[in-house]
């Protein structure tokens, strides 16, 4: 007697599971310009590495003789796989079945995805599509039980915990609403497709019913909305570009907080010095310049991966490498409000610092900070609160932190740019103080200026006196900076710093006191 018959049945069920929502359901998904969840996982992972968990999970139908007459696969697919040879957990809703709204079998697997990643200490990549729960689902029949038992662990506990344990990435490649939208933002990196994804708390029907306004999914939560709202970090032109971004993001991070960042062998010369850095910052302090060009000249060639460019755009955040070592890059974009910290820029900054701290990614900060944004709009949006949250995140950061004083450093906002584990370099173009001179002089010396026979001349005289005190040399003389440098030396200096912080990075593993929250 062999078990051949059962084995045949096991194989039949495996085939049934892979039929997903059937030929028709799959064709519909393709007609919407979207891949199915199985195609997505295949394309995301290294070829042939997907090892599913719970392939046979389904809602079965049996006849009176216990013969299988129906088999609806769980509409959540999850399992192990590899990205660039490194282990990950990948999962996502199957939109070809019930529009991704979890069927009973799918729900069991979907809530397991975070557990799986945390238990095995590997990154989680979620593909999200669907609207979450439906009033049609979830029992309530007489005689049955409703709700969770009072002693149950909250379902969202693991979603919060995962963010302090392993890299979590979310992809939106269709309409994402309700709980899946919540999951999307509970990540370290989220990305949506430009033309086929929308993210909403509640979709058009709910919005019309509640508020009486008619809006399309795209008007509510298309890429144009969310690149600016910051709900997603990045937008991708199509699904394959999205998978590429996910793979790239993960390449900078360790598999979990228990490991150190993956340093690679860099092909870029650590001693490379770009001539253009000498003229990159204009002598006229009101003339803007391109901070991104400066970053590209200093970091390993082609290694800068910017996150959330259109959200809080006065603050640049990016992942990059210096001599093969992944680093978090902070920089001000002086072409947007002179690089001032707005409420959004403050939140962007805090979240990024918390992410780097969680995964022990050293930070390199290029400072051109004129201060917190001011004006009526800035006051209404509580800029000072979010700004101070950024200051606190930096003040308690545990990672090695290189601060390059590129240009301005004014006001309390500048405090957000330094951390306890500092290495401070200054360029000769540095200017700093409590307030920028224009404005600052008028406030501080208003009596003296008003009392002078020629107030304008007095103001100019004071400005001139203070401007000469703006000389960069006293900072070096006072050991207020480690070194005042030729801007061209920045890369070699940072490459040496990266070498010196290696022993600290070996030690800096494990959970942090303040992991990132959404």
């Amino acid at each position: 007697m062999s078990w051949e018959e059962e084995v045949r049945e096991i194989n039949r069920r495996r085939r049934l599971a892979k039929q997903q929502g059937g030929k028709e359901g799959i064709a519909k998904q393709h007609a919407r310009g979207r891949l199915t969840i199985r195609e997505r996982i295949e394309a995301l992972l290294d070829a042939g590495t997907f090892q599913e968990q719970g392939l046979a999970t389904a809602i079965p139908d049996y006849d009176d003789n216990d013969r299988l007459t129906g088999f609806v696969p769980a509409n959540y697919v999850v399992g192990f796989g590899r990205i660039d040879g490194r282990r990950v957990v990948a999962g996502g809703e199957d939109f070809t079945l019930k529009g991704g709204s979890p069927n009973a079998a799918g729900l069991r697997k979907s809530v397991y995805a975070e557990h799986l990643a945390v238990q095995y200490k590997v990154p989680l990549v979620r593909s999200l599509e669907g609207g979450g729960g439906s009033v049609k689902g979830g029992g309530g029949r007489r005689g049955g039980t409703v709700g969770e038992p009072v002693y149950a662990t909250p379902r969202f506990r693991i979603i919060a915990d995962a963010m302090g344990e392993v890299p979590v990435v979310s992809m939106a490649a269709g309409a994402v609403a309700g709980f899946p939208a919540g999951r999307l933002v509970a990540s370290h990196f989220s990305v949506m497709t430009r033309y086929t994804a929308q993210i909403m708390i509640g979709g058009p029907a709910l919005v019309e019913r509640a508020l009486g306004v008619q809006l399309t999914k795209d008007e509510l939560g298309g890429a144009a909305i969310h690149a600016k709202s910051g709900i997603v970090d990045n937008v991708a032109e199509d699904e394959h570009a999205m998978f590429h971004q996910v793979r790239r993001f993960l390449s900078y991070l360790p598999a979990s907080v228990y490991q150190r960042t993956p340093r690679v062998v860099s092909e870029d010369d650590p001693e490379r010095m770009e001539e253009e850095l000498l003229t990159a910052v204009p002598r006229d302090s009101n003339a803007p310049f391109d901070m991104r060009e400066i970053l590209a000249m200093i970091m390993d060639e082609g290694s800068v991966f910017e996150l959330g460019r259109d959200y809080g755009p006065s603050q640049i955040v990016a992942l990059a490498r210096i001599d093969g070592q992944p680093v978090g890059v902070l920089a001000n974009d002086n072409r947007v409000y002179a690089g001032a910290m707005t409420a959004e820029a403050g939140q962007k900054y805090r979240r990024f610092v918390e992410m780097c701290d969680t995964f022990h990614v050293p930070i390199v900060n290029f400072i051109d900070q004129p201060g917190f944004m001011i004006g009526p709009e800035a006051e209404r949006s509580a800029t000072i609160r979010y700004g101070m949250a950024a200051v606190c995140a930096a003040a308690q950061a545990t990672v090695p932190w290189a601060a390059i004083q590129v240009h301005k450093g004014f006001g309390v906002a500048t405090a957000a740019h330094y951390a306890p584990n500092n290495y401070v370099l200054a360029w000769p173009s540095v200017e700093s103080g409590a307030l920028p001179l224009e404005g600052g002089v008028a406030v501080a010396f208003h009596r003296e200026i008003a009392a002078a026979p020629d107030p304008d001349a007095k103001r100019r005289e004071l400005e001139e006196r203070l401007r000469s005190a703006r000389s960069p040399y006293p900072r070096a003389e006072s050991f207020a900076v480690h070194e005042l440098i030729d801007p061209r030396e920045t890369r070699p200096m940072l490459c040496r710093w990266v070498d010196w912080i290696q022993p600290q990075l070996d030690e800096l593993t494990g959970p942090t006191r303040f992991p990132m929250r959404p």
């Binding site: 009101n286 003339a287 803007p288 755009p313 002086n334 072409r335 947007v336 409000y337 002179a338 001032a340 004129p370 944004m373 004006g375 709009e377 920028p436 224009e438 404005g439």
Partner: protein
């Protein structure tokens, strides 16, 4: 030919207008310069084309996302 609305990324005042209607511009050419937070912020042509209209004048205040010029591309 498409009409392209050029928006300002920031709130500020118009400091200089560098082009007139009818001018040929290339991608990256400066259309006007705003003054915002004491910085001179250029508004550049997102694509090459002909300036159809400049909608603001020197000293006008401009708000974030306001259309400041129209290009025919």
């Amino acid at each position: 030919m498409a009409r392209l609305e050029v928006e300002s990324e920031v709130t500020g005042n118009v400091w200089k207008v560098e082009v007139e209607a009818g001018a040929q511009v290339e991608e990256g050419d400066v259309l006007l310069i705003l003054e915002s937070m004491k910085m001179e912020i250029p508004v550049e042509a997102p694509q090459g084309g002909t300036v159809a209209e400049v909608l603001v004048a020197v000293e006008d205040s401009v708000s974030e996302d306001q259309v400041v010029a129209i290009l025919d591309t």
